[in-house]
Symmetry: C2
Subunit: 125 residues, 2 copies
């Protein structure tokens, strides 16, 4: 949308260039749980507590979740807000840069549903 897909041309030189750009940017999303985390934060439409995030990212463990959240925070994708109270409360939300991933995540979630439907179809033809 923003780029009008001007990058999708046949010029090898140009392709090499955006290949580099994407590889570089995708490095931020590297890590087993990052896309899952972002999808969940995006779908929730609001900040999520650590425990809630942990519940939604099925199969993740505390250590990994914390680590990946730290990296996402460092890369400017999520914000971490601490509420000084007992019991402790920490919320995570998407930054502007993180929210900009929204369209992509939305399409990804649609794909997930489409895929699940097709998988179900194959079992009952």
């Amino acid at each position: 949308m923003a780029q009008e897909r001007e990058w999708r041309c046949g010029d090898p030189q140009q392709q090499r260039k955006w290949a580099e750009a994407t590889t570089d940017a995708l490095r931020v999303l590297e890590g087993k749980w990052k896309i899952v985390i972002i999808c969940q934060l995006f779908g929730a439409k609001e900040a999520l507590r650590f425990s809630e995030l942990e519940r939604r990212c099925e199969g993740v463990n505390q250590k990994m979740l914390i680590q990946q959240l730290k990296e996402l925070e460092k890369d400017g994708i999520v914000t971490r807000t601490v509420y000084p109270q007992v019991p402790p409360k920490v919320e995570y939300a998407l930054t502007e840069m993180g929210k900009a991933l929204g369209p992509s995540m939305a399409e990804l979630i649609d794909w997930a549903f489409m895929r699940r439907e097709r998988m179900a179809d194959e079992l009952t033809p």
Copy 2:
């Protein structure tokens, strides 16, 4: 688009349901190079030779590329075509399921460009 984003509602029960669906589907994209591979195949608009793919996925090594391609093939995302000739020629292309990831990958690539621009802006304000 396909789902009209009907999944993006406030109902906790519903959210838990699609959280599970997405987590499950995203497992297919798990692996350090899979999204990069798909992005490159999508951007190329055509089948790519192994060596060409290797060149475009900057930083990958043969072993990893082969492994990830095998998993993607097993999960029905890419097809592998062998041309019996010397020197050997093997081409990889997206399946229908793989092409369905197009919109998401396109948005992802746009995000990559947007991010690169913003990173450059921060260095020269």
